[in-house]
């Protein structure tokens, strides 16, 4: 491979990382808002949040990407820059999965903690911010770490829409060289390295957060990973 082609691949890596970071930020925001809303005391709020997760987890991420790229522009008369369209589709889809993680971790906090907050006449917002979240967030990190790897794998989908990410640059190099084994091996290796780094960073984060609430991180990861289209019945 020539250096010009490597430059193409590097540009692809950059687009993938941008998508990953922006998508992760949006997905985190969505998952906390929707996840907390699912534990709200008003049933209508819980219902709307539940409806959102069912719809976005029920459909395929790729179908969602197509929808954002092709249906939104004529329907609403505005068109998003590809990077933002990709971020929106990925963030909303993976945010729905993240919401389940947030809800699960909040529900798993010992009820006595919440009752203690009520007894001390904390407001609901104070209970959430000072009691529930600090204990729930460290428990969310391992499943979020898996979800982040799934998001990384999901970013490859935008290449179908012609966005110049890592998977797309692989196709360009294949067309240029008329040879595919080498370039696709490299592309897969790059994805694997990024995923490996992500899990390392998340493991460090978990250790730090758990130390903050006086727990030690488990020595061995026992969380089962979840795949890209992560299941409906959970």
């Amino acid at each position: 491979m020539t250096s010009g082609l490597w430059e193409l691949v590097l540009q692809g890596v950059w687009v993938t990382i941008q998508l990953l970071v922006l998508g992760a930020l949006l997905a985190t925001a969505v998952s906390f808002v929707v996840g907390v809303a699912r534990t709200h005391r008003l049933w209508i709020v819980r219902f709307l949040a539940g409806f959102y997760t069912e719809v976005f987890r029920g459909t395929s991420a790729l179908v969602m990407i197509f929808w954002v790229f092709f249906v939104l522009p004529p329907a609403f008369g505005w068109q998003l820059v590809p990077l933002w369209a990709g971020t929106l589709a990925l963030g909303l889809t993976y945010g729905a999965y993240g919401a389940e993680i947030v809800r699960g971790a909040l529900v798993a906090v010992d009820p006595a903690q919440k009752e203690g907050g009520i007894a001390l006449s904390f407001t609901p917002w104070q209970r959430m911010r000072l009691i529930l979240l600090p204990q729930a967030v460290p428990e969310m990190i391992p499943p979020f770490s898996n979800l982040l790897v799934e998001l990384l794998k999901g970013t490859a989908l935008v290449s179908i829409m012609g966005m110049g990410d890592l998977a797309f640059s692989g196709n360009l190099v294949r067309l240029a060289l008329q040879e595919s084994a080498e370039i696709y091996t490299y592309i897969l290796l790059i994805y694997f390295v990024i995923a490996f780094l992500l899990t390392r960073v998340m493991r460090g984060l978990e250790k730090k957060l758990k130390a903050g609430v006086g727990k030690s991180a488990p020595r061995r990861e026992t969380v089962t990973p979840e795949p890209a289209g992560i299941g409906g019945a959970r």
Partner: protein, 216 residues
Amino acid sequence: MKWDWNAVSEFMPHFWDGLLVTLKILVLGSLISFALGLVWALLMRVPTRWVTWPVGVVTEFVRNTPLLVQLFFLFYVLPEWNVTFSALTTGVIGIGLHYSTYTMQVYRAGIEAVPVGQWEAATALNLPLRRTWAAVILPQAVRRVVPALGNYVISMLKDTPLLMAITVLEMLGEARLFSQQNFQFTEPLTVIGVAFIVISYLASLALRALERRLVH
């Protein structure tokens, strides 16, 4: 935003064709992933690191890289090695292989959840290794993991549109083809989006019912 019901009715024949292909991919892919996942899980229990190490690395690699790129790899590289399959076969192999690295974890958890007493009883009865696995451990392990495997089938359903990228005409492929021929994107894409939600919701209801039956 204007909605054209004529476009919907024109699209429906293509939709059923696509649905059939999607379900075909789903069934065959699930079968491959169930079988291959069990093979990986059993290989990981072989007591030598000459087996567990390579299997662990390969499955970890497959699990942490995008299915889409794996499909491209199979679709473009296999013909270079003079192995030619149809696009559909390639896609089914790719998706089955990808998901086998997930089902492998499910089987592993199921096998580890079998009580130690069962192993000890098998040893006490002097059962050969093969019978211990076939008659004692696996029947109990597999029963436990059926709901978890079902979850992965639903996930796989939502990954079947990726096969469109290697020219398979499943639901999304049909929708895209129809859109490009008629310049109507809204209706076909919305129809298949709703179809995915409905199918995966029904499947998750069925799975919950199955789970309840297995528990009792």
